[in-house]
């Protein structure tokens, strides 16, 4: 279908969508006028029942924990898909980046950027772990903290280049971290079954409200999700970087052939 024809079909469909949307909107309570009841119930019962102070964490990792496992495995499968797609053609060309790769990066990245990124590495990783560890107390948790942890590793790449990143986090390390994180969530769920309770049911003491050691399995799930998200983002990052280096190496090889 040509682009103008497709646009016409879209405009007709959009008009239908707009009509249905406005119809649906008419039935919604106006913005800021939340009616409940689920949010209100959870806000009332989550603190006494689960000993969390961040109700969002209790929703994610307890009340709808099974859903979150599903979402977590969407993440896992996507990362596996990226790896599968980008690793297929590895055999075609020498996979190791050229020896002078560090020199290339040095020439391209200014010292100011490199120094600034280097200074940010440690604070970013500490902040990431802090967000992961306090997910059940304050806003944060495994998803957010894992993304921050991965950013810390991106900073290592920006400050030192691909080889430094590889040295700090070997490829197998990221793969294994991702798998352990994804599996950890399920293992915590199965532990409930083994203890004679339901899947993902809390089986360890809840601890006092507001302390780091509290909320039962929720901090453990946060930790495993944090490891998985950081590992997954790192796998994606290194696959794309490797791809970029491969493309560059192929272009260089072509240039050499033309010259010869």
């Amino acid at each position: 279908m040509s682009v103008p024809a497709r646009r016409l079909v879209f405009l007709v469909a959009a008009a239908g969508f707009a009509a249905l949307f406005l119809w649906g909107l008419a039935g919604l309570p106006s913005f800021g006028n939340y009616q409940g009841p689920y949010g209100d119930i959870l806000n009332r019962v989550a603190v006494p029942q689960r000993h969390v102070t961040d109700v969002v964490a209790a929703v994610n990792f307890d009340y709808r924990g099974v859903d979150t496992i599903g979402e977590e495995f969407i993440l896992f499968v996507s990362v596996a898909g990226v790896a599968a797609l980008l690793r297929t053609e590895r055999a075609e060309i020498d996979v190791e980046p050229p020896e002078d790769e560090r020199a290339i990066r040095r020439a391209e990245t200014s010292d100011a950027v490199r120094a600034f990124c280097f200074a940010l590495i440690a604070p970013t990783i500490v902040l990431g772990w802090d967000i992961v560890a306090h997910g059940h107390l304050t806003p944060g948790g495994g998803f957010q903290g894992g993304a921050i942890l991965a950013s810390g590793l991106v900073l290592i790449y920006l400050a030192g280049g691909y080889k430094t990143l590889r040295a700090v986090s070997p490829e197998e390390g990221a793969d294994v971290a991702e798998a352990i994180g994804a599996g950890g969530f399920v293992v915590i769920g199965l532990a409930g079954l083994i203890a004679g309770a339901a899947f993902l049911q809390d089986i360890i003491p809840l601890g006092p409200v507001g302390l780091l050691y509290s909320a039962g399995t929720i901090p453990l799930i946060n930790l495993s999700v944090g490891i998985e998200v950081a590992g997954g983002f790192l796998v994606i990052l290194s696959e794309f970087l490797r791809q970029a280096l491969q493309v560059r190496a192929q272009a260089d090889a072509r240039k050499d052939q033309e010259q010869a």
Partner: protein, 114 residues
């Protein structure tokens, strides 16, 4: 103006969809899909919002204080992270399209058509 956030969600959805169907570049298309997805975040957070309420984090706040809906926030936060990896998957597909067909223009991907 009490429906304004819902209108924004609808606008993001439609404008992203328009970008997808008229896109001439797979990377542009993936970004448009992110725009469509962000409309769900706006809609989710908007339906859970309560004017003048606190966040659902009860640190130094007595239980029973009116708070916004934690369920929609939980849905949104997992979605944001999952979307990032799905975007990476789609971009990897774009890389493969560029390698196999030498183009990122969906109109030019003739060998993919039936």
């Amino acid at each position: 103006m009490s429906f304004f956030p819902y209108i924004i969600a609808a606008w993001l959805f439609v404008v992203g969809l328009y970008g997808i169907i008229t896109s001439r570049n797979l990377i542009h298309l993936v970004i448009c899909l992110s725009v469509v997805q962000s409309s769900t975040y706006v809609l989710l957070l908007a339906v859970g919002y309560r004017a003048g309420a606190v966040p659902p984090v009860f640190v130094n706040i007595p239980l029973g204080t009116p708070a916004v809906d934690p369920v929609v926030q939980a849905l949104t936060l997992t979605d944001v992270v999952v979307e990032a990896t799905v975007t990476a998957l789609l971009l990897a597909l774009a890389v493969q399209a560029q390698k196999r067909f030498g183009t990122l223009d969906p109109e030019q991907l003739r060998s993919m058509q039936g």
